[in-house]
């Protein structure tokens, strides 16, 4: 057979492509469960590290069950809605209108401290950036933050997934009194006493700004919920102090 005939060439190319396509798609389908499992464990690992629990991926599953006490799905009015928190695809949610979005919220308890973990998703310079930020039970103080990215510039924007960038978030406040301030990543560095800003990355300004925008946009969505539960948290603390007052009174009476 003449392998250099045009018809043969076309036929050969067509058959080869079909075989390769079939092979690759069956491999992709067959391996998907394993890959999804890895992605799920990595997400759990990231959620845990935002509340200061460092684990490898194999340990993430168990620790996740231990520390994450509650998973909520909220709408932007601060109401709880039905749904599976863990399976919310934030990449799709952020594209919707604010009213149509569902917001995942994880509540964890570490050493008796309640912490609220908010998943983040935004835009960097080259592609998506994402992360988790955890707030202490005053819903104001940041306990920790982790970020990651798809393809930011190595050595510049890509540094957002390093502790050097993430650690300074701890202890910052997202509110100034009643006013929502979010946290800004500041080019040229934030001052020591700036409670609402952290140092930006030299040469990674657009990624840094992306983090700022992401925090502002995501946290704003949760404000109605914060406003709703804040009074109950404060009332709780008032109650506990009243209790002590009552006991003091009781002891005086007695």
């Amino acid at each position: 057979m003449d392998v250099n005939k045009n018809s043969y060439t076309f036929g050969f190319a067509a058959i080869m492509v079909i075989i390769v396509a079939a092979l690759l798609s069956s491999a992709a389908i067959g391996l998907k469960p394993f890959q999804d499992r890895n992605i799920e464990l990595e997400k759990k690992q990231n959620i845990l590290s935002s509340v200061g629990i460092v684990t490898d991926r194999d340990g993430a599953e168990e620790l996740y069950l231990t520390y994450i006490k509650q998973e909520l799905v909220l709408n932007n009015k601060g109401e709880e809605v039905e749904g599976s928190t863990f399976d919310i695809d934030l990449a799709k949610e952020v594209k919707k209108e604010a009213d149509a979005q569902v917001l995942p919220l994880f509540i964890s308890e570490v050493d008796g401290k309640t912490m609220y973990i908010i998943p983040l998703r935004g835009k960097g310079l080259w592609g998506p950036i994402w992360g988790f930020i955890s707030l202490e039970d005053d819903l104001n103080t940041v306990f920790g933050a982790v970020f990651d990215h798809k393809g930011e510039t190595p050595g510049l924007g890509a540094e957002i997934n390093r502790p050097m960038f993430q650690d300074p978030f701890a202890g910052k406040s997202i509110f100034n009194g009643e006013e929502f301030k979010s946290i800004k990543v500041i080019k040229g560095g934030a001052g020591e006493d700036n409670m609402h800003g952290v140092d930006g990355i030299s040469g990674g300004t657009i990624t840094s700004d992306g983090v700022t925008d992401m925090l502002l946009e995501r946290l704003t969505m949760y404000l109605p919920y914060f406003n709703k539960i804040k009074p109950t948290i404060e009332v709780d603390s008032v109650f506990s102090s009243m209790d002590s007052v009552v006991t003091v009174n009781d002891s005086i009476i007695n």
Partner: protein
């Protein structure tokens, strides 16, 4: 066709030649890009070497089996389809079973497709030889590639980070207490080029066959 067995002396040369006399990196100077990029640590280097081993030996066999059927006008395209399919398979398998490594290698696994060694072996060897020999040639060349990768990564990780395969060797030896510090430059790509250069120098001064006539 000669009747010698697959493990004859001649065929064994297919395996041993690329390790030294005809090393793809240090003699043919192919596949340098990946050699520079993923030799910061041993682990990705080993995984990369294994991935290339799988891709190159299988691609060699596949192309060799089809060598009488491939229309010569589209042979390079056929090579690329075969290589690309294998690389995607390797990438998917890595993602499923060694996720961390696949994250670290990220684009470089995809770049195996453009690794000149592979296309070069398919064109130069697999198209003209039976599958058994092609397989040995694939193994030999990927060993030759892998050995350089691993040697370079060994020195870069040891001198740059003070670890070997993630194990803190220098710390255990107590060198830091004596005032030793890691050489941060070893982590940067230029030092990979220098390391490869030193290897080539050492190899050429040792191996008489490689000394060129004046």
């Amino acid at each position: 066709m000669s009747k010698d067995s697959l493990f004859s002396k001649k065929n064994m040369k297919l395996l041993s030649d690329p390790l030294d006399d005809n090393n793809p990196i240090t003699v043919q100077v192919l596949g340098i890009c990946s050699a520079l990029a993923i030799t910061v640590q041993l682990k990705p280097a080993v995984v990369m070497a294994l991935s290339v081993l799988v891709v190159l030996s299988v691609a060699n066999v596949v192309v060799s089996l089809m060598r009488h059927m491939i229309p010569s006008r589209i042979r390079i395209i056929v090579f690329l389809v075969v290589i690309a399919a294998l690389v995607i398979l390797v990438d998917q398998v890595l993602k499923a079973f060694v996720y961390d490594v696949s994250k670290e290698l990220s684009v470089f696994v995809g770049l195996i497709i453009t690794n000149c060694i592979i296309c070069g072996r398919l064109e130069a060897f697999a198209m003209a030889n039976p599958p058994g020999k092609a397989f040995l040639d694939g193994l030999g060349n990927s060993f030759g590639y892998g050995i350089i990768l691993i040697v370079v990564a060994f020195f870069r990780e040891l001198l740059g980070s003070g670890t070997l395969y993630g194990y803190p060797v220098l710390e255990k030896l107590g060198l830091y207490d004596l005032g030793y510090e890691n050489n941060g430059m070893m982590i940067l790509p230029p030092m990979a080029l220098v390391t490869v250069g030193v290897l080539i120098w050492w190899q050429r001064s040792r191996n008489e066959k490689l000394i060129e006539n004046k």
